[in-house]
Subunit: 334 residues, 2 copies
DNA sequence: TTGAAAGCGATACCAT
DNA sequence: ATGGTATCGCTTTCAA
């Protein structure tokens, strides 16, 4: 039965006093400082005392003393918050937690209307983003004491080299090819934040189609709120396009919806395949074929990279191809 | 052209030296400490120097000295991460930023597989959750130095008293009533995290239906992955139910989808209304009627409460009814 | 109006 | 194997 101090927080000095050793010794035990020999007896007594007193180290003091925050900040694009992404983040957080790091996520990079970015207020050791940061952002990070930044400033994000990006797009095309489609379109989303990723996926899809000897029409952005999706569907259909590769499942739903509204049958008149296997893919009628990636593995790798940046520890796992596969549903199978 | 120190961070001592005053004075200026009279001249010089040198206060040191972190942690349920929620959080963050607080969100309360909750690692001043925290969680927060917790430990969350919860549910029912429906069902989601909110919404809906003299059938949970949604739709239809109030848009899509798959027409044979007006509501075919709330206003209020807890400043805005309204689409209008 | 100095609590180096 | 203690950078009280 732990007795939690009602008023003052428990400090390492309290433990030292309780056990009858110095604060230094307490610190050595609690941080299992390497190169320090502490007798098993005192070690046990310190740990027991810490547990009994409900000791929690003071973040601020520890951060100040060691000069680092042990926080890793992940800057996400607005949307990418599907359930699978969520699961990945959990996995990443778990790996980082084992190394003593806390993972904090910030929804978006660009400060909207005067919200200072979290890197200024939290002073994370590492900031990881999906796209390259602007020079201003990098400067403000540096000023805030951020030690490492990914993607490295100056480097391009190069999504196309990330695992799963090209694979997923290729598999979308392969799937349509296997089903006999020979003239396809690529549909994107009007979302500036995601341009780089969209481009990479679209490029990979186009290239794959060419390899397979398929014909493609120009990339179009669709938005269900204006008439762009209806127009796109009409143009595509008139143009002999029989299938559409969508950037993600929302886009796939937009296209499929516009097709249905236009009186076309999905997939007989127009097949559609999405990407990410988000909830809408299985909820839509007809259910949307999509691409499911093992993003958990990706998160694990990302965490390893983060630890590499933070602690200099080697990146063990490799940027291998992710477990990516087609989830075939009625929007292509009929 | 700010000259950012390449190696060492800029400290308040650097500014003091640069300007030729003491570190204390620098601190007074930078924190605009009340009750301190600093000549306009030195104040300007300090600020200029800080800007030129690219000074960013060291979080850890400041936190340690003042004994608070100026972090407010918001613990969200897994799902509630729709775009509207996102916009609200931005608004909340903005209000808090003005008061010098950083808003950090944690996706879920229960630590999954050994991820320590962020309140242990960040030591926020205030933790705000959607549901009441367990005694263990409260203890761990206290040990981590968290000063205030909402909902207050021991208090029930009482969603039904939060603005917009009952309103939204009532409006769903009112909408169906106006369209002539007299026998309705309520559909929930199998999600333990959300039970309290679901119950509150469901109760409000049932009660409203009763007030209006409508008949209701027992609450059912649906899941598109098992056969439960198909079964529910069959039972409801056989039972003379003509419309369904869904807990949220995902549930509405599940129900509408099952109805369509069963050969029913939506809304002629079964009308469905969702809640939250999330993307799936407008993307689904037919588009789903839903409830849109001004969650931005709610976030503003929540931020005010947080500041009240943190700084003791009065809660100015009131828990007024939110701007909540029906977005009527074809899933009810036909 | 400004400065000196005492903490805040953990870390880690240097002794013992 | 353990203990002193200087240090991190800022806040804040007390003097000047």
């Amino acid at each position: 039965m732990p007795e939690v101090a009602a008023s003052r927080r428990v400090t390492s000095a309290d433990i030292a006093k309780d056990v009858g050793v110095s604060r230094a010794t307490v610190g050595f035990v609690l941080n299992s400082t390497p190169g320090k020999k502490i007798s098993e007896a005192t070690r046990a007594r310190v740990l027991e005392s810490a547990a009994r007193l409900g000791y929690q180290p003071n973040r601020a003091a520890a951060d100040l003393a060691r000069g680092r925050s042990k926080i890793i900040l992940l800057v996400l694009p607005d949307r990418l918050l599907g359930p699978s992404m969520q699961a990945s983040l959990d996995e990443g957080a778990r790996v980082l937690a084992e190394a003593g790091y806390a993972l904090v996520t910030q929804p978006q990079a660009r400060p909207l209307g005067g919200i200072p970015p979290l890197w200024e207020t939290l002073g994370p050791d590492v900031v990881i983003g999906w796209t390259t940061f602007t020079p201003e952002e990098v400067m403000s990070m540096r000023a805030a004491g951020v030690r490492r930044i990914r993607p490295r400033p100056g480097e391009s994000a190069r999504y196309d080299q990330a695992p799963g990006v090209a694979e997923g797009a290729r598999m979308q095309v392969d799937h349509l090819h296997e089903l006999g489609h020979r003239r396809i379109a690529v549909a994107a989303l009007n979302d500036p934040q995601m341009i780089e990723l969209q481009r990479s996926r679209a490029d990979a899809a186009m290239q794959r189609a060419e390899e397979l000897g398929m014909e493609t029409v120009a990339l179009r952005s669709v938005d269900h709120r204006d008439g762009s999706s209806a127009e796109a569907v009409r143009i595509w259909h008139d143009d002999g396009v029989t299938a559409v590769v969508a950037y993600n499942d929302d886009v796939a739903a937009t296209v499929a919806g516009a097709a249905i509204e236009a009186g076309l049958r999905v997939p007989q008149d127009l097949a559609v395949i999405g990407h990410d296997d988000s909830p809408i893919a299985s909820l839509f009628v007809p259910p949307l074929s999509s691409i499911r990636m093992d993003t958990v593995e990706a998160a694990r790798y990302l965490a390893a990279v983060a630890l590499h940046e933070a602690d200099g520890r080697p990146v063990t796992s490799t940027w291998t191809a992710l477990d990516t596969r087609v989830v075939a549903r009625r929007s292509t199978l009929g």
